[in-house]
């Protein structure tokens, strides 16, 4: 019990009622010294006096014992509740903020992983494709060179006239393995200028009816072996497709270079070469097979 607080509260209420210490003492039936003692906080009123004192000062016994009026208590309670609410909200906000930080870090980590994964993948995909293509193209060129050597050294079953035709074709084919084409094949990206140069090279070095010449070679093969009809049809089909691609891509792009059009796209002619190599390899194989040149 805070006697000082109670004393101050009694003095405050007495002054509000405009009593002197003596008057209050008279009403309670005690000495004025006792009243001044209470007000200074040196003592407390007796329990038997509490009821009378509270009635005189117009306050409740609880208020008297607390040393403050109810309104003050209510304000205090409100403050307390408010502060509790604020602390609760703060706690809630703290939890939310922590959760936010966790989510943000997860999102950023996963996004960075995503970016790294995609970069690695694109590099791997490029490597894989170029490796596969390089392996295939070297295999094909080796095979073709081997076959050309066999054909040049052996006459086989063929008559002199037919053998001349075959040798003319083989000499034409040798030009496909010139420095220019090999340089073009080693490039990763193709310029519009490359197409132009390629076409120029192609026209300068090959006879205009180059494609038809190759086709007619199969007719001579059929003379020796009738089973070659299927192969001829396949060869012609691929050749036609290649010519369409050639007209569609190489000619149009080289034309656009000629007329000073802007470079719109880069693309590779790898597939074009690949398919023509496959085709020529098949023809050479058939020539060797039909003419029994292996020996």
């Amino acid at each position: 019990m805070n006697t000082e607080k109670i004393g101050k509260f009694i003095a405050q209420k007495r002054k509000e009622k405009k009593y002197t210490q003596k008057e209050l003492a008279l009403k309670l039936g005690v000495t004025d010294r006792a009243v001044s003692k209470w007000e200074r906080g040196l003592g407390c009123p007796d329990i038997s006096l509490l009821e009378d004192l509270s009635k005189i000062l117009d306050i409740s016994i609880v208020e008297l014992l607390n040393g403050e009026s109810k309104e003050d208590i209510k304000i205090l309670e409100k403050d307390l509740i408010n502060s509790m609410k604020i602390s609760k909200e703060n706690e809630k906000n703290r939890i939310i903020n922590n959760f936010n930080v966790i989510l943000e870090t997860i999102i950023i980590i996963v996004i960075s992983m995503l970016v790294i994964l995609n970069i690695i993948n694109s590099i791997e995909l490029n490597k894989k494709e170029t490796n596969e293509f390089n392996n295939n193209i070297t295999e094909k060129t080796n095979n073709i060179e081997k076959y050309i050597n066999i054909i040049k050294n052996n006459k086989g079953k063929y008559s002199n006239e037919d053998y001349k035709k075959i040798i003319a074709y083989v000499n034409d084919l040798d030009k496909l393995f010139s420095k220019e084409t090999k340089e073009l094949l080693n490039k990763k990206e193709y310029n519009i200028k490359d197409y132009y140069e390629f076409e120029k090279y192609y026209f300068d070095n090959f006879s205009a009816d180059y494609n038809y010449l190759n086709k007619s070679l199969y007719y001579t093969l059929i003379k020796y072996d009738t089973n070659m009809v299927d192969n001829m049809l396949k060869y012609e089909q691929i050749k036609d497709n290649l010519r369409n691609i050639y007209i569609g891509i190489v000619s149009t792009t080289s034309d656009s270079y000629k007329y000073g059009l802007k470079e719109k796209y880069l693309m590779n002619v790898n597939s074009f070469f690949m398919w023509s190599y496959i085709n020529e390899e098949q023809l050479l194989k058939d020539i060797i097979e039909v003419g029994d040149m292996n020996v």
Binding site: N93, I96, F99, N100, L103, E104, I106, I107, I108, V110, I111, M113, L114, V115, L117, N118, N121, S122, L125, K128, E129, F133, N241, I245, G248, I249, Y265, M267, N270, S271, M274, W275
Partner: protein, 196 residues
Amino acid sequence: MYKKNILNILLILTTIILIISFDALNVFDTLVYLMPLLFSISITMFMKRKEVNKCKSIYNVIMMLLIVFSFLFLGILSYSNITCLIDENCSSNYEIEGLILLITILYTLLFTNIVDIKLKHNKMYNILLYIISFVVFIIYGRYYLDNDFYHNYINLSKEDINIQSSYIYITQNYIYFNIVYLCLLMYYFVNRKKNK
């Protein structure tokens, strides 16, 4: 209404269109993209149920019906998967679940953003959404730029381009997309009450 909210909605919408157009072109039928719509509508309706005052009974009935249907679909999906665990000859596509989850999350994000168009969002939410959308656009853009129209023109070269392998390189990102967008959706819901 905030201009940033409209931008957010447009970003989410374009990512949805990108993912769906890519997948619809390559593998799945269109029905796969309607199922997530059911889930996401029921989720957004459930989220907004306290704020609806008019025709509350009708609203509740529709919401309950949608929830029941979505659970029915989930049941069918999980049943087919469980049977596939036992039966070896069964041909279930496990990729489909990842895709359904991803599109459900994206639809939910879109609908909630449309419903809360008047709310001011957390600044960090906007920034995160921009970053994710940027990354997604780059990934898909690279795919579409790689396969330009010339590759389609040359039917012969499809083996060289390896369309199948580049397709796998996109679909393997779905798990990361799922995690990112799920976190973003959680982030959105956590901060939604705070922003009100």
